[in-house]
Chain length 360, copies 2
């Protein structure tokens, strides 16, 4: 009960038992769907449950050792596109399954990740970590191996993920595809504006780099941004002074929009002078001018999937279907095109595809 609040007395399992003329254990069996109850008594009990408006007390249930239908989501952020999408998907799936959803943001700092995890573990229930950046990855590592948990992670390397209840979108492959698309349009190389990268193994960065290497293209130094459009604007301004920059891949759409603006400020036309490609396909991407060519990622579906993995892990009787992970998909719009004629030197790697009309 909360401080300062006098609650109305609520019906307990014993009230239902008395009203039904049975023991409270039988009531427990009925509300928990045990098969070992005579149908006629079940009916009687159910009627009492309804008339008394009985609802089982979660705290008592948890204390008595019953499974707690709750999950705490550990995340570094609740608003950024990927994080918020994942949370939305988890909440929706959990709600359908009758689970309560807790949210706990992981603060910066070495100790914070451990604290967040241990507090979540104390709560009981289960844990989902949205491990898409450094702080929450630290939290993921701090989860006790025997604690029921699942995680949304960045594309893991090799068999790092075998046996782990992890889900992800293959953004490494997507970065390769996006880079190859730009190279295929005829660009000599592709510059990269990165979201915060916590290691050299950052998959989007790695995909971009490997695509350039495989194509024999020069690999420029990537510029590290934050997640915000401002950082894309500032990084974009650095690039405008370099006439060799004709194609820029961005770690997310906010950065891409910031970079777009920087190009406009500098009088460089997009895509005629510079092509820009983003990551995410935020709703606004279609309505920018020019509309943004970007890699669509369905984080809501990923969140739902993650909860499903958790559920199958909690209930060993359920068959884990291993539903496929959502695919990243390059959405071709207006912000990328062939390089300006005067910039094209030497043989072109592939015939430039025509610039498509904007589409969803």
């Amino acid at each position: 009960m909360a401080l300062g609040a006098e609650r109305l007395p609520t019906a307990s399992i014993r009230d239902v038992a008395a009203a039904s003329g049975v023991s409270h254990q039988t009531v427990s069996r009925v509300i928990n769907g045990s098969p070992r109850v005579k149908e006629s008594t079940r009916q009687v009990v159910l009627r009492s449950v309804a008339s008394l408006d009985f609802h089982p007390n979660r705290a008592a249930r948890a204390l008595a050792g019953a499974p707690v239908q709750s999950v705490t989501v550990l995340t570094a952020n609740t608003r950024l596109y990927g994080f918020a999408g994942a949370l939305e998907g988890i909440e929706a799936a959990a709600r359908v399954a009758g689970f309560t959803v807790g949210v706990r943001v992981v603060e910066p700092g070495a100790q914070a990740a451990d604290d967040a995890v241990s507090q979540a573990v104390e709560l009981g229930g289960a844990l989902i970590v949205i491990a898409l950046e450094q702080k929450s990855i630290a939290a993921l590592h701090a989860v006790p191996p025997d604690f029921p948990s699942a995680a949304i992670v960045v594309t893991p390397t090799a068999d790092e993920a075998v046996g782990k209840p992890w889900v992800w979108i293959d953004d490494r492959k997507a970065a390769i595809e996006a880079t190859n698309y730009l190279l295929g349009l005829g660009h000599r190389t592709v510059h990269y504006l990165s979201v915060p990268a916590w290691a050299d193994t950052n998959p989007r960065l790695a995909g971009w780099r490997s695509a350039l290497v495989d194509a024999g293209a020069p690999v420029p130094e990537p510029l590290c941004c934050s997640w915000e459009p401002r950082s894309g604007f500032e990084a974009g301004q650095l690039l405008t002074s370099d006439p060799d920059v004709t194609a820029v891949l961005c770690g997310n759409d906010d950065i891409a929009i910031g970079a777009l603006r920087a190009m406009h400020h500098a009088g460089r036309s997009v895509p005629a002078d510079v092509s820009i490609v983003g990551f995410d396909d935020i709703p606004i991407a279609l309505y920018c001018s020019p509309s943004l060519t970007t890699v669509r990622q369905d984080f809501v579906a990923l969140g739902r999937l993650c909860f499903a993995r958790l559920l199958s892990l909690l209930d060993p009787s359920s068959i884990d279907q291993w539903a496929p992970f959502p695919d990243a998909k390059l959405i071709i719009r207006e912000s990328a095109g062939p390089p300006h004629k005067r910039r094209r030197r030497g043989p072109v790697a592939a015939r430039p595809r025509p610039l498509p009309t904007p589409s969803r």
Copy 2:
């Protein structure tokens, strides 16, 4: 305990008592900060707590009737700018106060609001309703009057809110200010693209309308949009065919960006031909082309404030400081300006102000 998970045995209050050579009641007093404990025994107990890594069990605490330090946030959505900002602020403030935060999305449908509330009430703890649209407003009305709760609401009328633990941003006033700004630039009237409105008393709509009436300007029919940029685009397309439309106020920035795009598609220049003003000041607003003149609203601060109100309500001993609500603020950028010369007929209401350079 969750299904399928064998947890390590964790230290209980009795283990701490045994290790300290005191009764478990004394341990309870220590961990709850009771003053009626000898300092020396407190030290002993605290040492045992640390060495055993003891953490009180929340379920047991709740069951024994202690205050539950948890709050459930009821909302229609976790991603839209205002809702997500409010959630972020609530979570941050709750985390600092040691509260657990639950999130429950209210589904559409008459019954859903009641269900969401009763489920949240059963959980115990407290409730915060982000009542910014119809479904969650229905939920707010369904909260039992004696249950500890607070709410983020749309600007209430008159003394509708007296004595209620409600917080809001005065968007009615802000809509008046934005409308007057456009009229002051010399526009004959201002069209309105509304976010979903659940009543004629919608404050932004009401503010816009009253500003027009007060100025003696014609009041065009408002167009109802969803929250998404697509709806702004579609509504914007309807307006492009009408040459009398020179100024458009939008219920949020996403709609404004959609409308901006519609104008571009139709070959109408913003702000030379049409002025567009949004609501929210999303991070991208500054980086659109043209950058968006918009009404900034600090929903994160509002969320923090709402939690503070809840806390003061839960703890009667605390003095409720009645911190002021965050102000909405018109941020003048590039997307609004004086109407095109050829569109200006008759005397101009006020001398147009110069179009400022983009700024934060």
